[in-house]
Symmetry: C2
Subunit: 119 residues, 2 copies
Amino acid sequence: MEERQARTAFAALSQETRLRIVRLLVQAGPDGMAAGAIAEAVDVSPSNVSFHLKDLEHAGMIVPRREARSIIYSADFTGLRDLIAFLMKDCCAGHPEICAPALADAQCKPSIKKKKAHA
Amino acid sequence: MEERQARTAFAALSQETRLRIVRLLVQAGPDGMAAGAIAEAVDVSPSNVSFHLKDLEHAGMIVPRREARSIIYSADFTGLRDLIAFLMKDCCAGHPEICAPALADAQCKPSIKKKKAHA
DNA sequence: TCCTCATTTCAATGATTGTTGAATTATAGG
DNA sequence: CCTATAATTCAACAATCATTGAAATGAGGA
């Protein structure tokens, strides 16, 4: 991932409404949610949510698809993963010995216990 | 890491000069660099670099220490790691099976081959 | 003490970004 | 074809953020 693209992604995630949308869509998984449902969930106006969705889409954090009258957005897991990889490379490229052990702690393990997913 | 703190970190990293500073300091390692040297390296005015350094410090991405007449900044590897962990949790909490395998690819391994570190 | 170097602070200005509500496009059903 | 629903676009305004240069602080050496 290029630096410029990473910056766009960071900017997208730095805004309260947008970060909440991303987290919501990650929880929602590949099924995603309609724009209207997202607006309701994060409690902002349709036009405002549309503005933020466009920004997130441009940043490669979410992906849209049309389904009947609705437009369904879902998390772009590839984009999210690339951003994590960018950060990790940045962190590790210089001095792996510093952060490698610490990172193990934050590892993504499928053996994770599922909680009552909520928000 | 709390959402609010994560947003502050994302905002800090979303700005060109600041992201360049962080990457520079990660490369520099624990020794860090003096504010003036950073200013020269990223080619911005002293007052401007000071503004950005303060922002990065506030975001928990870098850490300062005085050394004689200089103030030396170094990457806050703990802060960086926490941010990565936040992103990974977000990504994995909902659907680990989606991103776990993909993330393995981006893993931080001490066995990483060192390239002619550049940017 | 006085002078210099390193950095920060301040106030002003310009540039970006977020929010709002009204108007528009697109899809489905009667 | 007309109406209703779902979402986006647009223009205006408010708010936040970045940059600049000048002035202030703080540390060390003559």
